[in-house]
Symmetry: C2
Subunit: 108 residues, 2 copies
DNA sequence: TCAACGTTTCAAGTATTATTGAAATAATGG
DNA sequence: CCATTATTTCAATAATACTTGAAACGTTGA
């Protein structure tokens, strides 16, 4: 994951609706959810949910797969992990205070 | 760290110059660096560096301390860790693929 | 094929953010 | 106190992003 990919991913998550979408999709795991279900869950019109989902997909943070009339969106956990790994390893030089937050759940 | 703080922090880092500033300040550790030195390091005019530094400071990611004619900026490692911890714990539900990136350096 | 459903695209308006250079502020040494 | 240095603020412009509703698209079942 290079710098510009990380910037895209950070920008994609720096928005209330999209952060909520990610949280919701995480709870759905590999089942994923359709755009309509997602829009309802985060209280957004379908066009708005679609817009934000395509932003997340462009940033690589979610995947889309058509299933009949629905399009199922899922979190791309590797991409989320890659972004976080970049922040920890490349950007923060594995600084102790940063690593502690990952190794001790609830610390930060 | 609550949702809106995390969104501010993510937005602050979702910009090339500011991400570079963070990386540079990480290498400086507790010594920190002045706005002029930072601007030179990231190839930005002083007014631009100042603007981005205040954005980072507003998001809590850096601290500012006047030392004689200079103002020394330092990374707030706790804030960076807090943001990352939020993503891992609250947002991603400690999903294995995400955690792996923190525990195995170089994995992602 | 046609109607219905879920989803995406589009256009217009609004808002936020980035950039630049100039002016203003703050602190120090002479 | 004044000149110098470091930094911030300001104003104007440009670019990017958000929201909304309507229209268009693709898929399915009748």
């Amino acid at each position: 994951m290079d710098e510009s990919q990380v910037i895209d991913a950070l920008g994609a998550l720096a928005q209330e609706t999209r952060l909520r979408i990610l949280r919701f999709l995480v709870t759905k795991g590999s089942d994923g959810a359709s755009a309509g279900e997602i829009g309802e869950a985060v209280d957004a019109a379908s066009s708005r949910a679609s817009f934000h989902l395509s932003t997340l997909a462009n940033a690589g943070l979610v995947t889309a797969e058509r299933k009949s009339r629905h399009i199922i969106y899922r979190v791309n956990f590797d991409a989320v992990g890659g972004m976080i790994g970049y922040l920890i390893n490349d950007c923060c030089g594995n600084h102790q205070a940063v690593i502690a937050c990952c190794q001790i759940p609830g610390k930060c």
